[in-house]
Each structure stands twice: as C-alpha cells, then as structure tokens.
Symmetry: D2
Subunit: 284 residues, 4 copies
C-alpha cells in the first residue's frame, strides 16, 4: 500500500560548483578559487511522491546563482560569501526551511619578484580553507575550518602506559614519529560583519602548538591544539578536531645487521588511526 510510505527527510542541491574569481585592483589582482555546494531543505514531498516539480528550483539555477552573486559584489572572506548565498536562497524561496552552503577554498600565493607584474599565482599547499553555513528561519550557524593540513613530529612523541588486552602486540614507545592529517572546524560567537576573521592566526596557532607539544598520544596533542585556540581566540565558541594518524613504522633492519635508531620509517596510508573531539568552554 503505497500510501503508507512517506518521506521523513529530504533535501537536494548542487555540489562541486567550481568558481575562480579575479578581482582586479589595477596591476594587483586578487584571486579566489572556490568549490561551492548548496543543499536546500523544504516542503518538497510532492516532487518526490508525485513528480510535481512546481517547487523545485533546478540545481542548475543554484549553480548560476553562485556565479551571479560572485559577480555582484566582492567575494571577501568565504564566510561572507557563504552567508550571502544562504540568505539569497532562504529570502527568495518561502518554501525552503533550511539551506546549507559549503565552501572549500584552495589557497594560491602571489608570484613575481621585483619588476615583474604581480598578476600570477602558484597553488600553495594541499590544505584548504573551509566553511559550512547552515541557515534556517531562526538563524545561522557558521563553521570555519581547515582541511588536509599535514604535519609531522620527528621527536618528543611517546605512546605508553596504554590499555592492553589479549590482542595487543604494540610496544610502548617514548620516541615515535607522529604524522597527522589534521581537519579542524570551529564556530564563532557573535561576530561583527565588518571584522576580518582570525583564520590565519588560528591556523598558525594549530601549527605552533603541534610543533611545541610534548605528545603522549594523538588525543593529548589534539586537546592541546584545540585548547590553545579556545584560550587565544575569545571569538571561537567551539572547535572540532579530526586527526588521521598516518602511521610511520620503524623498519626492522636487524636481518641486515643494521641498527635503526629512529631513522628509517615506512609510512603507511592504510590502516590509519582516527582521533576526534569537540572542545568548548565549560559553562560558568
């Protein structure tokens, strides 16, 4: 009996909308390289159940809107562009209850030495700056972030005194390589529209604490990194850190009559540890 079956959730949108915007300020252009996704939630049940498209704004229109809004004003920080997009769709479409805008920004650095025009760029780093705006009729949540920051400690990383059971073969160590792929997302407290967000400073804090920390575990380093962000940036309300431990295994060279005093490692992509946590300030 088909009538018994219903939608309990539904959404649709456009992902991987690629956008390069060049903002030309005389001979010193700036560029943005963004990948945008829009997901819309609302009263679409008849589109699904009956094929009635009258409330379905095409995902192709969502894509066009990204390009048109990119043209109509400077992109500025992705936080502002993401908010403009979310407000646009909610403001124009009363049948939408919620819009989620996700942006991933590739970071380019300017090329050109003395005398050369400063209009060329080089892609720098595997890491991306990220944003998720989730807006409904009551307000918006904003999560800024970093994706794919790869870091490695060559000393001051131990892992010992851990729980053991009958399947434990790992040796305790005072001196292992620690190689992490770090993803971070954080939310800001009430934040002035005209202020610049401290994205670069938060990134630097994560790197500084990673470099300075005497690590007893990934968990331990993760907490120190998140804690420092909350301590130094009063505007950050909460931070989620997700760290993949890309194990670097010490190679056993004894069959070849060689010692290996923490020198030669084989990094393995699979399997990988995955350590996650959300940190926030405790309620007073």
């Amino acid at each position: 009996m088909p009538a018994q079956i219903q939608l309990s959730e539904c959404s649709y949108g456009k992902t991987s909308v690629r956008l390069v915007k060049v903002e030309r300020y005389g001979g010193r252009p700036e560029m943005k390289d963004l990948t945008v996704a829009i997901q819309a939630f609302g009263t679409f049940a008849s589109a699904y159940a009956d094929g009635d498209n009258r409330l379905v704004l095409p995902t192709d229109t969502m894509k066009n809107t990204v390009y048109a809004l990119a043209r109509e004003a400077p992109i500025d920080e992705i936080e502002k562009f993401g908010m403009r997009l979310a407000h646009h769709f909610l403001g124009r479409n009363s049948h939408l209850t919620r819009v989620r805008v996700s942006i991933s920004e590739s970071i380019w650095q300017k090329l050109g030495s003395n005398g050369t025009p400063k209009d060329s760029f080089q892609l720098s780093g595997p890491e991306r700056r990220t944003l998720i705006v989730d807006s409904n009729r009551s307000g918006s949540s904003i999560e800024a972030g970093i994706k794919d920051l790869f870091v490695l400690k060559t000393s001051r990383s131990s892992f010992a005194d851990f729980l053991k059971d009958e399947y434990t073969t790992l040796k305790e160590t005072q001196d292992r390589l620690l190689s992490l792929r770090v993803n971070a997302r954080w939310s800001y407290k009430a934040f002035g529209q005209d202020e610049e967000t401290p994205w670069t400073q938060i990134r630097d804090t994560l790197l500084d604490v990673f470099a300075a920390h005497d690590s007893r575990s990934v968990q331990h380093t993760l907490f120190a990194m998140g804690e420092a962000v909350l301590e130094r940036f009063a505007c950050v309300e909460e931070i989620k850190l997700s760290m993949a431990n890309r194990h670097c295994l010490l190679v056993d060279l004894t069959p070849f009559k060689l010692e290996n005093p923490s020198e030669v490692f084989v990094p393995v992509e699979e399997p990988s540890g995955l350590i996650e946590a959300v940190l926030k300030r405790s309620s007073p």
Copy 2:
C-alpha cells in the same frame, strides 16, 4: 584559564583495516574482501586533557582484533561480522559507551569454466556492499547498504514544470539522459540471527525500478526506488537514498550543421546534482 575548557564529544578508532579472508571448502573456496573501520566512544577525557593513556586501547589492537575475529569463525554476511566486532569491544571494555563498526565489501565473482578449478575470482563492478553497526549499552542499530551503483536511463526521463527565477536558464525537457551514482542505506526490523539478509534482492529491486520508471525528476525516481524496497521487503524499516546526478549535457552541434536528436552527450563530473531522502512507513 585552561580549566574552563572541556571535551563535549570524543572518539577514536582505526579506519581502512583491509582484510581478505579465504574460507576453504574443499576445491570450492569462498573469499571476502572487506575494509573495516572501528570507532570507540567512552570516558577518555583524561587521555585528551592529561595524556593519561590507561583507558586507551591502542587502535593497533583494534586492527589485530579484526583479524583474530575473522579467523575465529566464518565471516558469513558482513552484518554478522560487524555485530561480532561491536559486541566484542563493548563486552570487554566497560569504559566504552558506544562502538561503531563500518564495513565496505568489494564484490568478487568466481572464475573458471568446465574442468577448471573454481578457486579464482574477478572483481566485479565498482559498487560496494556496506554496513554500519552502531552499538551502545541499550542496543544496536544496523544499516546495510550499497555504495557507487552507477546507472543510466537513455529515455523516459523528463524534467519540466519546475520553479523558475531570474537565474534560471535551464530548458524544460521531455527527453534527457539520466545518469546517477546511487548510494543506499537501509535498516532492518527485528531480524533473525540465522536468516540471510535480502541484500541481493534489494539491490535487484533498486535496479529494476530504476529501469522501469518513467522519471519526472531524480526526486521522483528516488522515491519510486525507495518505495518499492519498503513495499516488497517488510523487514526493511527505513531506507535512505543519496543520488548524485552526473549530468549528461546534449552537445550543440548546430555550428557544424548537424542535428543532435538526443544522441551525443558530454558527461560532466562537476558540478553534480545531489538528491537525498529518507523513506519509511507512516505510523498507523
């Protein structure tokens, strides 16, 4: 003031644990090719805040456990193996509150014609069979699924009568190519431990309905596919479908004085539509 900062969520585990198991029944061996992830939730706060590892079972031990449990009994369906793993970790570790086991199975088909030993296999299809078991002290939820099922309709797919705004340029069409990457996840109602799950039949149902449906939109086809699964399989409680629309654009050949009556298309990977929904039976 560091004392103010606390964990609001935390978990850790091992991802991408690769396992091939050969179960040898005389000259007719069977094989399983699984990728397993274990994520543990519990009272680990001191590991993060203080570097106290006494309640941290190493992720390396989790990996070992996957291999040991794979050896101790036949894998059978991944639902059963996933449950065994979840119960193992919860049962042995009173400080854990929750364990999530995710499995992705690659599907191999047996090779060998008349007279040849039937002990060789070929990887068949990009699609994977998936499983997520999420267990806590009150019980378990199980989601079976399919990932990366690629399907394409060459006719009987329209998209018309949709909502338009000032950014809409898409033309209405009665005859477009519909190319989808389908991911599906569904949960079973109380399910006997000894019954075999109807994974293959559900997969066939999804394909059959896709092939038969006169589509007015991805949403419309998605609903028909999910609805059929719920109608035909009383044991399925809920199904989530996530469909990426891999647009196939009709190439404009008029500059070359050629018509293109729905024949020559350029498939584009980016951007992509994303249509999602959860279907279940309505409460009586």
Copy 3:
C-alpha cells in the same frame, strides 16, 4: 644566446574528452561511454619559439571534432572510431606528421527484465576497454587493450627457488594468494575493416588462463596468459602485459594463539610488484 636553443620534440592536444553516445534503434538503444585524447605532432616550432599560432588548430576544435564525428556515423567499435579521428586530422592538416588517438571505454550492461523497456544501463566492472591509434604519413599502428582487470587466485600459486641475497627475507611459499591488476595491450595484423575484433574473446582467454594456471610467479602466469592469446588468435601480432602484484600478506595470528592456514590476509596497496613483458611470435 637564445638562438642556440631549439625544440627536439613537440606535440599538443586535448585529453579527457568525455563522450556518451546513444544510438537509438527503436526501443533497443545502445550506448557508448568514451574518454578520448588526441595528440598532434607536426611543424609547430614557430608556435613555441615565436608565439605564432597560424598552424595551431585549437585543442577546443579537436574536442568539437570528436563530438561531430561521433554524430556523423555510428561509433561501432572504438578501433573504427579511433581510425576515423586519426584520418580526419591527418587528412585535413598537411602540417601534421603524426596523430595519436587514445580511447578508454567504460562498459555498461543493459538492465530490464521481462516487460520492461530495455533502455537503461548499469556500469559493470572497474575495467575499461582501451585503444591507441598512432598514425603518420606511412600508416597506422593500432593497440587494443584492457585496463584495470582485477583478478585473484586463492590456491595453486607458489613462489620458491628464487634468487637470494643479503637483503632477502621473503620466505619461499607453495601457497600464496595471487592478486593482480592486469593491463593488456595488443596489436592486430592486417585486419579487415568490416570484421569485428575479438576483444571479448581475448578478454575471456586472459581470464580463463589466469583461472587455470598453476602459477610459479607473476612472470610465469603473465607468460601463460600472453602465450594463449597469441596461440588462439592468429590476428594478434604482439601483446604487452603489465601486471601489478597487489600483495596479500598472511596475517601472523600466533600472538593470539591462532593458526592461520592461508585464510586471513591483509591486502596492501603500497608497495606493489610490477611485472611487464611483450610477447610475440618468433620469426620463422
């Protein structure tokens, strides 16, 4: 002294031209899903050295040509489409000395059971059918092939009596898992334009011999597979096989007081063995 510097080789073209063609024969449409690359060689030196584009046919035009030629006649086998493309560019452009056309075909199988229209398809298998046509003013070479055929033997695979040196730790084995990613390319002797090529039969031969062979090494199995193709298909002149050995390591379960009689393996993607050879008939 810039004048001293010259081009010793140059070429340009378009890669990753994606094409889906639907050929409609009443209610039984056929589809082709191709990725095409065109690379042109010729007298372009002034384009490089002086920025003189007068002999540079845009790569965008090459792309357009793929779509126009796909429309003008049935694709038929990719060998024929590839030849049409190569002849087109050489025939129209007297300044070209050589054109290389590469095609990778994704394989789809028809869906639809009794009573359902047969106009929907499912992507089958990770493997691709491939083609390289390399044409110059004297003639053309054609290499047909298969890419990413994944196969696995669960028994009758040994590796023993091998060369050892001071860095050898591998144990001899009579019973290992053999998991290969097979790429093959072969050339045909003079081949009638109207005959269908035996691509499917060659693929079946490769699979049959893999399944039947008692393997002493990847090299040994590779030779048997190539030899069978040359023996069974007089039209094949030469075959190149490239096999990646995706090592499946037997897991040591003795720390857990478990035997592991060739049952539980960890497949590793890195590092990988790579075994290659070209086979042909000896001159009489």
Copy 4:
C-alpha cells in the same frame, strides 16, 4: 606451437616503496619523504616461459634494499640516493642489463618559532621533486624534475590568430586566464658528485618566467620557461616540459543582465589541453 612464442621485452620490479628518513643532527633533525620504484631488466626469459625463478631476485628484496641503503648513508639529494640504488643492483647482479630507479619526493618545511624545538614539519605544496635514473652497463642517464606545480596567470595571456576549420568555435581572445599544471624533467651534463644540484633555482626560474611572460599560447610560455632554464643553467642538457591547460571558462552572465569583464570563471578539470616539448641546445 608454443615454441614459436617469445619475449621481446621484459622487466619487473617494485613500485610505491614508501620511505621516511629522519637524519638527526642534534636538535635540528632533517627529514626526507620519498616514494621509490625499482625496475630491473635482464635475462629473465626462463622465469616467464618456464617458471624458473633462479634469476629472480624478489621484489620484496628490492624493497628491503631501499630501506637498508637509506640507513647506511645519508640520503643527501635524491640524485645521489637514486644512483646508489641503481649501482647496487647492477653491481650485484650480473644477469641484469639495466635498472631504472624512480623517486618522487614530497617536500616538507620546518615548523617552530622562537624558542620551540625545530623538530616538526609541515607538508608544503602539492608539488613533488622527482628523479629517474636509468642505468645500464655503459652508463646512466639522470632526469631530475618537478611534478604538479600549479600556476595561474590572471592577465597578459592571449590566444589569437590560430588555425581555424569548420569545427572551430573558439573565439580569439587577448585576455584569458591561463591555469597550468606543470611537469618538468631535465637532464644534467657531467655533474660533479659533490656539487649540489640547482633544483631549487631551476624551480624558481620556471616560476619567475611564468610570472613575467606575455603569453600568446601555452606553447609560447612553455618555450620561454624551458629556454630560460637552458640559458641560465649550463649544467642542464635538455628539458622536457609537459603542461596541462586547466581551462578556466568565462561565465556568460548576460542572461542575468550582468557584464563579466574577465572576472568570474568556471575552472574545468575535463577536458584539458596537453602541451609538451623537449628543448635542448642546437649542435654548433
């Protein structure tokens, strides 16, 4: 008649050998992150045809050798490590006629500000430093290189006055975005074992010329970049440049009553232009 079939080429080896080496100089460790491939050529015919492994040094031994040789001496530049590996295999195995060693180096930069130990690193850039050593009994060729250097010009890039045919629709432009993925490989003339190679300076030259050049085509910019390397580095004998043109298409915003004066672009990954050339000095 199997006897008619023979090998015309054969080789085997190990690919994707992952190595991280930490060289510890007090509190200022240095690290190398390499992916190594070894391919051996020689008189192996009986291994293929007869399954006779007596001249087959296992690929597992090749992997072990990479780790042992990495330990026995500092890695120094990858050119030196690659040569040591090639000489090792040729010197120990008289049945080998040729050995090819390929190395891809990921580049990490040191972290740590004032007062912090300088023992942590961050992965910098998608680009890799590469090496191919190809050695036989007569000598060695060495190709150093860069892979995946992504660059983009926002002005001073035109493409006009090109060849047109009936399939040409591309408009001439004086002002397009030029986005390239650059791969480069070059060989050195007789090079002192103790000298440091000018890899960093060659990379800087490629970037500087890209930034300075007024481009009439990818070909034109490619030549200027290669020419500058040959002019500035007498030790470079030949340079091969391979450039993928990642097209950035100007978005047509006229349907939305917006101009788009070279500001809003959609970057497309497929299809892509591919421009290649080898440059060397002309013989006197």
